[in-house]
Symmetry: C2
Subunit: 513 residues, 2 copies
């Protein structure tokens, strides 16, 4: 290929972090709001989130959960009673202290000293404690269990360094909360929801992930077990894209979720919680984006096909629009990936070429341009976002007939969804180094000479407490973290790279977002 003039000004290979920001801006997904740490999610970014919501919500409902809604504000005392939990969150919460503003006499407004709250309220960073309170009211007997709830909500964790979608003070998420009769059932449910997340990431977002248990030092505050799905970004870093926690009876104890068991005794319930957030959109960008912008996997694309008529502001326009509308209707009447195809006819003011490049940067899977000549020939000009450039360095337009284009689009979308996943999976697998047997090999794998190092899988003795902290410190010096213990990894058969003791399992080591 030669002389391709890419649609972005920054290439991934040159500055991945800057490239990420440019994609978000060029694809019109989000922007800084002017409110510290909070972003505005613009229609294209929010449209992708709505698609993820819809697909994941179906999966959550199919596993027997009901949606509900709990208060934004959580009393301080809720945080005081679960010690480990508050330790994990206390440092970064938005606190409401007043319920009224008054004029300051200088043309401004100030919190009214008369309206100071007796007990400050925390803007929820997560809802275990407030939902625990509700569960304690709702659960009396084993017949009330399992109780399986989910909430779609905004949450706030005050962040000093923010990056859009990946880490913002306010973000959108879903948080599932369940209560069960036994530890075994709750643990099984924790893994079941982890599998729901894996399936959603891979099947809906075309985002390959590795599901596994987080080491003790990376657990959610108050959890007994924390599991995650981890995706590899194109810069080799890991992104934790979702977590599922078995909370034991810790939160049940703090909230008083007790039930009469089948033998008439009183027991504490075993609870779980699990969440994914708008962070997943950051993962989609960093896995599927290229030097021309975003590529949105068809299943989560707000519009899968965008039709751009090449309007000339003359008498020919109405016929051209009618021709395009015929195409749109034929496409929209079909089904791809189990849903009606989402096709947009874009007749906003503006030049067709500039609109084309906007849709390329936004990553619409298929762009169909139609000019007067196409119409005369009964044809359309079709551009696949995942095969944008021809050998000659020009956009790789195909020129099928209108009917053939309309008929073949569902199969193209299906194929594109599968190939985005397959290619991301191959890229990732190629960059996980196994058979790393010593700490010096880890150092070598992540030395400054190695560009874009990926992950390493090592065997370890699963140290705990201070010994684990020591491991984490050694890794931190290399800017590395323990990601998770893949659920499907081979059994250990060697020595721990950190302690030299016999290894008990394999764990992934990587730089991370």
């Amino acid at each position: 290929m030669s002389q391709i003039r890419h649609a972005l000004s920054i290439k991934r290979a040159d500055d991945f972090a800057q490239w990420y920001q440019e994609v978000i801006s060029a694809a019109d997904m989000a922007e800084e709001s002017g409110v510290r740490g909070c972003m505005v999610i613009k229609p294209w970014g929010y449209g992708i989130w709505e698609r993820i919501q819809r697909l994941l919500d179906d999966r959550i409902k199919a596993t027997g959960h009901d949606n509900a809604y709990f208060p934004l504000f959580i009393p301080l005392k809720n945080f005081e009673r679960e010690a480990e939990h508050v330790e994990g969150f206390a440092k970064e919460m938005a606190v409401v202290t007043h319920h009224r503003l008054i004029a300051d006499g200088k043309g401004g407004l100030v919190p009214d000293p008369e309206a100071k709250l007796e007990e400050p309220l925390v803007v929820r960073p997560t809802s275990e404690t407030i939902i625990g309170d509700a569960m304690a009211r709702w659960v009396q007997s084993w017949r009330d269990l399992p109780l399986k709830l989910n909430q779609w909500a905004n949450v706030v964790r005050w962040e000093m360094r923010t990056r859009m979608f990946l880490r913002t003070s306010e973000f959108l998420w879903q948080e599932g909360h369940t209560a069960h009769e036994s530890a075994a059932e709750a643990k099984e449910h924790t893994l079941r929801m982890l599998e729901v997340y894996r399936a959603c990431a891979e099947e809906d977002l075309a985002l390959p992930v590795i599901a596994g248990e987080k080491p003790e030092n990376e657990r959610f505050p108050g959890a007994v077990e924390t599991w995650s799905i981890e995706g590899m970004m194109q810069d080799g870093k890991a992104l934790q894209a979702g977590t599922s926690h078995y909370l034991g009876t810790n939160f049940a104890q703090a909230s008083g979720i007790k039930f009469q068991d089948r033998d008439g005794g009183q027991q504490l319930a075993h609870t779980t919680s699990w969440g994914v957030s708008t962070r997943m959109i950051g993962g989609v960008i960093m896995v599927h984006g290229d030097d021309d912008g975003l590529k949105v996997p068809p299943r989560i694309a707000p519009w899968q096909v965008v039709i751009v008529p090449m309007l000339r502001e003359d008498d020919g326009d109405p016929a051209l629009i009618a021709y395009c509308e015929r195409l749109r209707a034929q496409i929209a009447a079909q089904t791809a990936l189990g849903e009606p195809v989402r096709a947009l006819l874009d007749i906003k003011p503006g030049k067709a070429a500039s609109k084309r490049w906007n849709w390329v940067r936004k990553g619409a899977p298929l762009i169909v341009e139609v000019g007067q000549r196409d119409m005369t020939d009964g044809k359309v000009s079709l551009l696949r976002r995942d095969a944008l450039w021809a050998e000659n360095g020009k956009p790789a337009f195909a020129a099928p007939s209108l009917e053939y284009a309309a008929q073949s689009i569902p199969a193209m979308l299906t194929e594109m969804q599968a190939s985005l996943l397959a290619s991301a999976q191959a890229d990732r697998d190629r960059r996980i180094t196994r058979g790393v047997n010593s700490f010096s090999e880890i150092e070598a794998a992540f030395s400054d000479e190695v560009k874009n190092p990926g992950w390493v899988e090592v065997q370890w003795s699963k140290p705990t407490g201070a010994a684990l902290d020591a491991v984490a410190e050694r890794l931190k010096a290399l800017k590395l973290t323990l990601r998770n213990v893949p659920a499907d990894s081979d059994p250990a058969d060697g020595a721990c790279v950190f302690t030299g003791e016999p290894a008990v399992e394999r764990v992934l080591v990587a730089r991370a977002y």
Copy 2:
């Protein structure tokens, strides 16, 4: 009818306010959260909200709006710059002043004095100012207009006296915000969205409403025109169920939403905003509820048909469940009101009769009970929530064959949706008194002797300023308010009941929530 033993303990006629609370509790829709002014929306209540969201969202998208998401937190300065707006809201907002908690040394937590925000943040009571800021960034030219946005979000208005769904400190809503080139276009859009609300209320919620313009004293802070839809509750009071505002250039001025017009000049955009909230659910309860609980109109019922097998915990149960599952599958394969029928097979532990009454109180449109004898006869026992009682005071079960029941259910749901609206409309129209020609007639209509007075429509001269305030004061003494000027009312042809001057239009007067 005789000896009906209703499913609630409180009758509407005895204590409407208490009855309302009992419906919410008995239908398991919501409850107090323990956090001041905030409720927990339980699965059945939230499921109704999800249905309203889905249907209204489709209508909002069909009128060309994109969803987006804006920050929860709004800087104080945004409120300072639109004087009328802040005046309307300043008294009741949640203010975030700190971003961290620390231990108080006594086992508790307090806001960290080191982490006091330089500028306090307000938890959004509505988003005109923050969305205005974004519009100012996004709008440059007339080509960028109209800009049509919508947001689904939680908002907070500190309330002293709360009532579930009707008035809570935190509530869920949708807020639309648009910017236009001209006053005419913006006003037209204000009315278009009012019509969307009317259609959603009447067609989806079966909630008859009167659409009209609010008098000046009832306008949204900062608006030029405020329009509303008003529904009549069974106690005769009015519920404002949605509003649509033409904001003129007031917010564009405050936020700097300017554009280059078609002649190359600079102009301020004309903006609109409009919202409906979880309050609508309160309207559904108060319009469709009866002494047996809620009746959910089929279009917004999370489950339209609930099948309750009469399980005996013996060997016959599996066959009975299979028979019920066959019924469920036949029902779910059909379409009613444009969507697949939502049918639930309820096999949770518990006695069939007790489950039946739970579903009656929740207001599931159709309840199908199936016992061993029904199965032997190839039949089912079918109960319509809108025709619950037979002449003999017993539940009015029909006993169709399984196949006949499955086939006829879509038509029953369609008919029920229409008849709920028609009957509420007839009740309302019967209770609007027209031809009231003097203030003393208003006094008489709302005197203590009149039980459940409904509304009166009067002619008025549309006074403004102090003269209008005087009218509002006179009405307030009777606990009355001006609701709206119905868009489709007859022209005025008499004298103003308040001022005696020639009337210019007709306005509705009522007690209100």
